[in-house]
């Protein structure tokens, strides 16, 4: 097991994870357009993902432009009662009302056939939200300075853009004792894991980004 190969694998992973290299059609869960009609159990094709997004967000365009509503991603609907149909679940977050919306699109009829919405329930953060969480972190005086210093130490030069950081966000749900993050019970809050160019990850475990309030919170423990 040579170090060279390990480094090459890590490099490929970094490439795959880079923010701007994987668009919707190329992301891992999108089927790479087979030269046939998809069978019911095939993953959604890139074209189906794009179409599902358009159909699901058709009535929300104004709110999406204003930034109140954010489209997250599409998942193939796996309800076995509709296993013979091509359906997609579009995940949408309404920041204005702090509400998760899941719209089920029937790709055959081109219509939204079901909608579920609720507060206090969170779907995983999207790529766009990861990037925004990084921007908020960098805009914060104390945290921004720490991230930039760590980046400069690892890369040997200054950070130019959040896109240069490897980002992974996970939903943060407050536990009863997390007093400083109590609002995260109803807000959309994430823990942001930040990878530096040397393959190490910053210790950001006490840091929570409240995307609803656009605030950085520090956990007390």
């Amino acid at each position: 097991m040579g170090r060279g190969r390990t480094a090459a694998i890590a490099g490929a992973a970094a490439l795959a994870g880079s923010l701007f290299l994987l668009g919707g059609g190329e992301s891992p869960q999108a089927a790479g357009a087979p030269a046939r009609s998809p069978l019911p159990g095939d993953p959604l094709t890139g074209e189906e993902i794009t179409r599902a997004e358009q159909i699901a967000s058709a009535t929300l365009r104004a709110h999406m432009t204003s930034g109140r509503v954010e489209f997250l991603y599409v998942e193939r609907d796996d309800d076995k009662a509709a296993a013979d149909r091509r359906r997609a679940d579009a995940y949408i977050y309404d920041y204005g009302a702090n509400r998760l919306i899941v719209r089920t699109v029937d790709l055959g009829s081109g219509r939204v056939v079901a909608e579920r919405a609720g507060k206090g329930v969170q779907a995983p953060p999207s790529r766009g939200e990861e990037a925004r969480a990084a921007e908020l972190l960098l805009a914060d005086r104390r945290h921004g300075r720490a991230v930039r210093a760590a980046y400069a130490g690892a890369a040997g030069r200054a950070l130019r853009s959040p896109a240069e950081l490897g980002l992974r966000a996970l939903i943060f749900s407050p536990r009863p004792k997390d007093r400083t993050a109590r609002e995260c019970a109803s807000h959309r809050c994430v823990r942001l894991l930040v990878r530096l160019p040397d393959g190490t990850w910053l210790n950001t475990t006490r840091t929570v980004v409240d995307l609803s309030a656009k605030k950085i919170l520090t956990l007390e423990w």
């Binding site: 390990t6 992301s27 869960q29 087979p34 069978l39 998760l100 329930v121």
Partner: protein, 390 residues
Amino acid sequence: MVTVRLPLLILSCAALVAGLTGAAHVPPAARASAAQAPSCGAPYRIERTLPGGAAWRLCWEMRTIEGLTLADVVYTPVGGAPISVLRSTALAQIHVPYDSGEPRFHDIGTLGENAVVLQEADCPGGERRERFVCVTVRPRGHAYLKPRPGEPNLSAQGSELVVYAAFEIGWYTYLVEWAFSDDGAITPRVGATGSLSGFTAAPEYGWPTKRGSTHVEQSHSHNVFWRLDFDVAGRGGDIVEQYDFTGSGTARRALGRKVLDKETAAVNRRTRWWRVADSETRNADGHRVSWEIGNSDSAEYRGPDDEAFTRADLYVSQYRDCERLATVNPAPDCAQSVDRYVNDERLTDPVVWVGVSYHHVARDEDADPMPTHWQGFRITPRDVTAENPR
């Protein structure tokens, strides 16, 4: 041994074929399940006949949230007919609490977005599907070995079809793997590799790594949950049973069987196991075909009150399409964690959730790149065939 392969057999001629071959170990319901065409096509369909003659067929999908998901899993024993096992299975959560109490992570975010591109060396002897999934076959040691007086030993080497992907979640790389053995067994497991987090703690919550005793790497658990929607011998008719053996400090041990006819949260016991059987289909010996679930390798993590999902090792819930993850379930109008899926509802279409914990106390050898540590469980055929399927 008569070899019966009926992949496209339609129900109407099933009885005729059974009569011609005398293949009593090809029950009608199994034929019905075999008649169903796979729901997916290339490159998402995996069909592999293993060196000994057994075959597996399944579909894979890289889902945005759950990552690698397998569906329509069908096993064909040597000389037998195809029989379905699972409608779908995927990871349902990786909960990572650290021993000092914080931090605590729920590592399933958009797992599918974090799949690692596999290089050729990462998929030895196999084929990579769409860069992220490896499909390969590997040996599994002796399938059996029996000395025979005056004759060569009766022995065979087994093999298994393996399907896996890797996901980079912060410090960890998770290898998410299912092995489908030529004897009909399925081994779902997760390996954690990559790097230790480097989180430090007071000495009672960790182990000194690196030089001296100043860096105490914090101990932690990986509590992995799987969701398994069984379809034993075709759709419908699945029943779940729990087996226990009484007698402690006694010479006798009596078998106790309990049908789980309502949603249940069950804990492990040393000799306890479960099985999912089909209520209609029997093998040639007249016994119900089933797959058994054993889960005795878990470290059985039990968390605080607000983590009630850690208080049992196996849950059985009635199928509900919105119940996908064991915690932080991303569905409005739906319960948020597996312990809340269990509400005493009568089971007509059971979904099984298995939790396996691994407690990691770091050691010097875990220095970067951290050696893989594995956790998983076994799903073994029980009375699917009337004899050793070889």
